[in-house]
Symmetry: C2
Subunit: 282 residues, 2 copies
Amino acid sequence: MKIGYLGPKATFTDLAVTTMFPRAEKIPYHTIPECIDAVSNEEIDAGVVPLENALEGSVNLTLDYLIHEQLLPIVGEIIAPIQQHLMVHPYHAHHWTEVKEIYSHSHAIAQCHKFLHANLKKAKHVYMTSTSAAAKFVSERPHLPIAAIANRLAAEEYGLTIVQENIHDYDYNHTRFIIVRKQNEPLKIDSPLYAGDKTTLMVMLPKDQPGALHQVLSAFAWRKLNLTKIESRPAKTGLGNYFFIIDIDQKMDEVLIPGAIAELEALDCTVQVLGSYPYYII
Amino acid sequence: MKIGYLGPKATFTDLAVTTMFPRAEKIPYHTIPECIDAVSNEEIDAGVVPLENALEGSVNLTLDYLIHEQLLPIVGEIIAPIQQHLMVHPYHAHHWTEVKEIYSHSHAIAQCHKFLHANLKKAKHVYMTSTSAAAKFVSERPHLPIAAIANRLAAEEYGLTIVQENIHDYDYNHTRFIIVRKQNEPLKIDSPLYAGDKTTLMVMLPKDQPGALHQVLSAFAWRKLNLTKIESRPAKTGLGNYFFIIDIDQKMDEVLIPGAIAELEALDCTVQVLGSYPYYII
């Protein structure tokens, strides 16, 4: 099976793909649109792109591209903790506290703010396009007293030694990735990481009016459908036009969710089911 | 007046600051936390950081840092269109269609997907840490047939010639920046760009239960308070705990918003006013 993902190699997206699909052929893409296009052109069986991730992409770019350009079904979701490690060339492992420069993505450095402030206050920060580019850069300069902040996969890929584990400031910092396919067929994943099912809807309100969102949520509330996420996003049709992304904490059924959708459509909302799919926590 | 902002120079954040505060002393910071800390330490009079921006930062990092680390009041918001331009060294201005490589932030390249596909299909894409770093790189290599995608300020700063304007795929793509201060005092900005007022609340639900959000929105709906944004964000206290960021389309008043907050607190929600402030559209 061929799985495309937002590259480069050894980023957090790669880590999620490697954990979920250990035997798949992995193909990195440079941008989220390129990865989604490759799914659409059937170059790959599925694509994995970040949905909520401060490091490698943003919900905006992924959802905007899916909604405006290539409406592919979401067939799965991967939730992964952000675990940042400090790594150096093996040559510097015993005197890592003396590193003079730390390389990483600017957001990864921001995520390790407290650790760096307490332990490596004098080291200079150098920003790279990704955490994995930082690990590669450090691995190619064994003579320099420098370190990278990246994930475990990057340490393995580039032969670096992790000298401090889990240096990120918050333990419950997670990234979310979605799996998209050309056809709405789930990947047959028999994984102990399976954690439940959800359904994602896009709802466009007829016009911006006080209480319209409240009316929309009523359709879910009285059916006791639990929403785990709601986000308003500006539509690209003019300032002040919005659509909503809503996650419902269950699989598509034959009564409740179709009933809620019918009610929303009767209110002149436009509703699109972006997917009903299993999610996995790694 | 000293205004700090998320750097480097000539990014979209700098463009927003330059437009709003043409006479201020501008100080770039490397990361969102550094800029917010500088406000807190009173090194600067105000800080400008991105709130919704796929290029230079993310709502997550800014709001998380404000909510978890440094609760500074939001005193203003700047909404700016994303306008991407293709620029080259003046030497190449007449034969820009022959450029072999295009330098920019990966998201900026993604935002200009259609233009690049139609006009510069064979050019290789090279990713940089920011659009402004790309413009600087191109300006320093006049002998190479390369181009950058960046904003107008970067073209001016680095002496590049814009050869194609507005090559971004969507016209209504906007970035939002917030202005934070140490004290909750508005900056006295007498600007024709003033477009209205809003109030931003953080609401933490007592526990994850079906319909809880619906109940929260009722408090606003029956008072005819118009919400222009709602976003659920995972709290960093465990998977499945959420808080909500809600924007109300008006200034803090003495009756309606305080009444809604009192009602939410009676439902055991925790409510924090992140700011009540004017916004400007540039």
